[in-house]
């Protein structure tokens, strides 16, 4: 085992993994996290704690991760390259591991233009691929990026990265995934899947390149409550592909919430059948209470201990 991560154990045991997203509050209130934690406690193998998602200031992913951990959950700490340089990042990696965090998800990060501080200067000292390589170097080579030795207690983190099969250039997306794996990614979380055909096409290329044998892939899924949510994502969120039929289906449904759940359940069934998919990552944006419902109906509960 590369780490002491429960998620790694689930993957290596060959179980279909389930993780979900937990967004920290725009305040210092720990109760918000505890409330969201209740919905997923005992039902997922890890909770992904976002790092100032869409560049909106929130409680730090380390702090929120530690609070989630106190509730009995295993956090996956997100770290983006937008806000910190390599010194601050390595310092926070040591701190996070020191506090008991065992998983990290490395991303470039949304541009600050989309957040509530568009005036900010971004950092991007290193990019997501370089961040992955840096964490691996700290863990496996016991070295900082500078080459200086970590004398003891190297951070034993299970390393995650993201992939977006819906961004362009499409043909480059598999090559970019291969680079992230070469840099040291142990698992991959994809962008929200609505365009299942394009996801299937991408997975075929991933399997053809043999990448599914080198990394565990979590298919990202987002249940939605209304067709407006889909329309918003289609028009406003970068790197999304949302088929019109899906919007029409939600719009014409008498019970949109139930339709949203059904669509998500159908997606789970479809990705489970795809070669190379090792689990799902649920991102019920603003609808955390639906997580246990979906997992129950999908037959993914109870989560057995590993």
């Amino acid at each position: 085992m590369k780490s002491e991560s429960r998620l790694e154990k689930v993957f290596t045991a060959g179980r279909f993994a389930v993780t979900c997203e937990l967004g920290p509050p725009q305040s210092s209130n720990p109760e918000t996290i505890k409330k969201k934690a209740e919905y997923c406690l005992g039902k997922v193998d890890g909770v992904n704690i976002t790092d100032n998602q869409t560049a909106i200031v929130r409680m730090s992913s380390i702090a929120a991760g530690v609070i989630a951990m106190s509730c009995g959950l295993e956090p996956i700490m997100q770290m983006v390259c937008r806000d910190r340089n390599r010194i601050a990042m390595q310092s926070d990696i040591l701190g996070a591991a020191g506090l008991g965090i065992k998983n990290i998800l490395c991303l470039s990060g949304d541009h600050q233009k989309f957040g509530n501080h568009p005036e900010a200067k971004n950092v991007f000292d290193i990019d997501s691929t370089q961040l992955i390589a840096m964490v691996k170097r700290m863990r496996d080579d016991k070295q900082f990026l500078s080459g200086d030795r970590i004398k003891d207690h190297e951070p034993k983190l299970f390393i995650g990265a993201v992939a977006n099969p819906f961004a362009d250039p499409f043909e480059f997306r598999v090559m970019r995934l291969a680079k992230k794996i070469e840099a040291g990614a142990d698992f991959i979380q994809t962008q929200c899947i609505f365009d299942i055909d394009r996801f299937g096409e991408w997975m075929k290329l991933v399997v053809k390149a043999g990448l599914h044998k080198k990394v565990y892939i979590l298919a990202g899924l987002t249940p939605v409550r209304s067709h407006r949510a889909l329309q918003y994502m289609k028009n406003e969120v970068a790197g999304m592909s949302i088929p019109d039929e899906l919007i029409k289906r939600m719009e014409s449904s008498k019970d949109a919430k139930e339709e949203g759940v059904k669509i998500c359940l159908e997606m789970i069934e479809k990705v489970k059948k795809m070669e190379g998919v090792a689990g799902i990552h649920l991102m019920p944006i603003g609808w955390e209470s639906i997580t246990p419902v979906i997992l129950e109906r999908a037959g993914l509960l109870p989560r057995t201990e590993v």
Partner: protein, 220 residues
Amino acid sequence: MLYTENKPIDEILESLGDEKNIFLLACDGCADVCETGGQKALLEVKAELEKAGKNISGTALVDFLCNKILVATRLAREAESLQKADSVLALTCGIGVQAVAKVVDKVVHPAANTVSLGGLHGLWPAEELCQACGQCVLDYTGGICPIAFCAKHLLNGPCGGSQDGKCEVDKDTDCAWQLIYDRLKSLDKLDSLARIIEAKDWQQSTSVEQRKIKFTKAML
């Protein structure tokens, strides 16, 4: 004035790789003043490459390599030797490399790093930009600069926000990495994107380095 410093010859040779026939193009503007371009540097680099077993298919000296019209006019006279070349080595600043890459259908390797943009410059408007990061990667990115044109200065490919060729930050702006991908595809050099570019040494960038430039009389 764009201040440049020579890349080490070993780095240039590594970048040229298996390419045997090289066309040398030197700038006689700012780069001449910095001794990274001009006739003298051109002859020195030619000798170094020949020593390393390369064949120089042709050479040209152009007043300002950042001016695409001047470059195209001058290279029209070198069509044959340019045709024979596997690639072009440009003895110029980052803007010069980008301008040459827009004119020729070959990989254009930078022979220098641009370290500062101090003093008077900008004689004509152009879309090529250089941020003087001091570690030029334009050969790897097909002559399109990810430091200047990518909103996140990414070095290992486009972020997840690149869609339909546009940048997530501004739908009217091309995604730099889409341009890089298209350019390398047209040159049949997509393989070069598989290489992981390591964390950059920002000590070489303009914000740090320009204070340390040693001005010679010829420069001022």
